[in-house]
Symmetry: C2
Subunit: 504 residues, 2 copies
């Protein structure tokens, strides 16, 4: 325990210095706090002390560049001085972080309960004795899976942990293929000898030309199978071999939604029809479509939302064609949309067959129905199959989420953000468009990619770390301890940045 | 720190009870300790208190089976009572572990220095603030990479961390494809617009039909790209789509090696020739072979060894065909063979282009030469890109390895094991064959898979956890704190088990 308090003291000490600097240097107006911070001791505002990346970050980039590529590094972080919604860099800047390590921090930085959990005896045991979970699990593993993962969704009865999002999706696809081939063969027995032999040469029938349908602009990961279903940006895919798998359009709505109800409904119909056509075309060609995978809100591909009716329609199509209906909640899961899982907004007729997760859930993995449990050991397997240290951490996260009502907080703050963004859009016509969100999973568009990139740079100079997505969108991916007062700082910085961008 | 000592106390208390049981119940003769244990307080012998899995493990299996498949679970572990080379289960059994979580524990269970490192302030920060390493690394990340990863191999200048072995290999293949296509285009510029557009539909030229050569019996992982190069067992591959990539035979030697030098040299020649033929055939068909991947010793596929000359020959072929020469050291790395990396035994003419690692290294990742650094940001990228908590743990492992001379220990104990196994083989002709090893990376064959499986069960009933591989092999994968006295217990148990198996 001593270590945890020590760390907390270091964090607080660092931040006192920052707050002093904040009073001296921040260009932002002081905001009245509406509620107490969910993370005690958090700064009140960002501090911008240098250009970002500052001189120390630039020095470290040169150093790191000796041993790996650094083209994607934004700045170097001082994690000991980061707290709650604020990330501190090595140059004395303390920034409001609405991107939170690509949407992967559930409780922001150095949450006191995670610091405490990091020193529990069971965490120590898990981290120094990482097991091969598929063969030698810890005595408390079933109980830990239940308390961290099985409290929601109630209607999905199985869970398989994995190390990361890509790996979770890859293994979920494998589960689809196994079930689909068993059905084609009409048997749960092990495949015939011809299949077992031909698969060793990567040839049919053992290596069948089964496929997975994904959607334009989708992002499902970066390993070769998951990358085949990713269709977000050329830089992710070009020069990498891919499988010939079908694609269908994801609805592209006109905004504001209430003014384009008929058009958007027609867009749903068009996309559903195209999805079914793609499935039928591939099935006719013997490239059987074993499943479809879709994000509830496409994130990397541009924060594209679709209606409950669209998802309901897909579920019907999947059933009709005896395919798996899989939802990839790697970015949308863990409460940010105002429900634990974004797909719970869709009023589906029964659970999806598979739901994958990672990022804020800290462990990768996927839920599935009984049907998608593999019919023999070692068909879905690897050395680690996840990491119990991450599941223990998640258990604490879930407990904090319940105690502090963080899902409700995301719904409330999200509504506050949307109101603020719509107000800004009205005051600055022609700059912000397509304002959209569920909970704090909020995005808006700039007129061009160039203006979007410029706005992000100006926001950073004002002490806000944000993320882009799609062609010209900014996405907000704050942690679950993001509150109204943080939203107000963000909105203030945005309006001020837009004024600079707009030239007034 | 308090937590660490607390945990150590719990471990010791549990083990005192076990040692008492050991004296009462062990069927094994007491072994004289030749040297002090590298992990203080470790038991002196295994304890077998129940059938394995015992009643508590069986109860837990039923419980876990409610939420996930348990067909591969061997027993449930009591990690608090495991120490050094001994794993304790929930039924009071304390077993000598020569399989160590599928070869993934570098220092056995609850090593005191890892317990201490688990409570350092920097470990706490890393574990509660897991960064997106490609964008927001910690200030000390370059230094940590150097001390944990860059001290060896000295001739490979770049390192990229990843979450697991499959993911490391997948990304290494991507690095190969990027470099190969750049060379084909004769440019380091971003690919032309036609490539960028066609890749979004998974079609050439943007999604090229590039390939990776792998070898019969190879194991490189379970995600779709790495699984395409895996050729170990049908259960890993059947029903999962694969890419059409080339394969070549891995040498299958006759043992003892010194009696079959000419035959084995001819086998090398045959396999090298077939590898080059496969490359030329695929290149002619426009399925350009961008690289080859090979294990220094094939592990999962049967602990197949090949000569330095074979690997030297492969490196020449790779150079001639302008392909990447990649060594997969996921299982062979981290000192077990008596060198830090098994390929250091091969006298290669310069470094391999890529070397991947995971398991005992605790973090996944790969080393590469400057040439394989991606030519633009975000081409090799994902959210986490590894986990600094694992790198901090590895830093401590490396420090212990140096302090306790664990690589030298592996060489010494390996030689002792080989002598012991050869003695047993002489005393029991017709039972053990193909005894082979480098360091403690040792294996031997039984006459049939059935006898191998039976021997493993008998060994377990005598308090030894071992692993099988290939058709009829037993592989030893102890941790680096496995010493001569542990080898003697193993050899005693083996000889006694063979006596049961042989019926005398």
């Amino acid at each position: 325990m001593k270590g945890a308090f020590l760390t907390s003291r270091v964090v607080r000490k660092g931040l006192q210095a920052s707050t002093l600097q904040a009073r001296q240097r921040s260009s932002l107006p002081e905001q009245a706090h509406q509620t107490a911070s969910l993370v005690q001791g958090e700064p009140n505002y960002p501090v911008v002390a240098t250009a970002i990346p500052g001189p120390k970050s630039q020095e470290l980039m040169k150093d790191l560049n000796d041993i790996q590529a650094v083209g994607s590094v934004q700045f170097f972080v001082d994690y000991a001085r980061s707290l709650g919604n604020y990330v501190a860099d090595v140059d004395g800047n303390v920034l409001l972080d609405v991107y939170t390590q690509i949407a992967s921090l559930p409780l922001g930085y150095n949450h006191p309960r995670l610091l405490r959990a990091a020193h529990s005896p069971e965490m120590t045991l898990a981290s120094v004795n990482r097991p091969a979970l598929g063969s030698f699990p810890d005595a408390r593993w079933p109980q830990k899976l239940r308390s961290a993962l099985m409290w929601l969704p109630r209607d999905m009865t199985n869970v398989q942990t994995m190390a990361c999002g890509s790996c979770s999706n890859e293994n979920a696809y494998k589960a689809m293929f196994i079930v689909y081939r068993n059905r084609q063969r009409g048997s749960e027995d092990l495949p015939p000898i011809e299949d077992q032999q031909s698969c060793m040469l990567n040839r049919a029938p053992g290596s069948p030309s089964l496929t997975v349908l994904s959607f334009e602009h989708a992002f499902h990961g970066r390993t070769l199978g998951s990358l085949t279903t990713t269709r977000s940006k050329p830089i992710h895919k070009v020069d990498i071999p891919a499988l010939d798998w079908p694609v269908a359009p994801f609805p592209m709505y006109q905004y504001p939604l209430d003014q384009f109800a008929a058009e958007n409904s027609a867009e749903d119909e068009r996309c559903l029809q195209r999805a079914e056509e793609a499935i039928e075309e591939y099935n006719r060609a013997g490239k059987w479509v074993a499943g479809m995978v879709i994000e509830p809100i496409q994130a990397e591909g541009g924060d594209n939302h679709a209606s409950p009716e669209f998802f309901q329609g897909l579920q019907k199509i999947a059933r009709k064609h005896q395919m798996a209906f899989m939802i990839d909640e790697v970015q949308t899961g863990c409460g940010v949309t105002g429900k634990m899982w974004a797909h719970q907004w869709f009023g589906l007729d029964g659970p999806p067959d598979i739901v994958s997760f990672s990022k804020k859930m800290l462990t990768g993995g996927y839920y599935h129905t009984d049907k998608y449990r593999p019919n023999a050991p070692y068909r879905i397997y690897n050395t680690w199959m996840g990491d119990p240290a991450k599941v223990l951490q998640l258990e604490e996260v879930i407990s904090v989420m319940k105690d502090d009502k963080l899902i409700e907080n995301a719904a409330d703050v999200g509504a506050h953000l949307m109101t603020g963004l719509n107000g800004i859009a009205e005051r600055r016509p022609g700059l912000l468009s397509r304002i959209r969100g569920l909970g704090t999973f909020v995005a808006f568009d700039l007129p061009s990619g160039g203006q979007r990139d410029k706005l992000m740079a100006v926001l950073r100079s004002k002490g806000v770390v944000s993320g882009g997505c799609g062609d010209a969108s900014i996405r907000m991916r704050p942690s679950l301890v993001f509150q109204r007062q943080h939203a107000d700082i963000y909105l203030g910085a945005l309006e001020s940045a837009l004024a600079e961008l707009g030239g007034d």
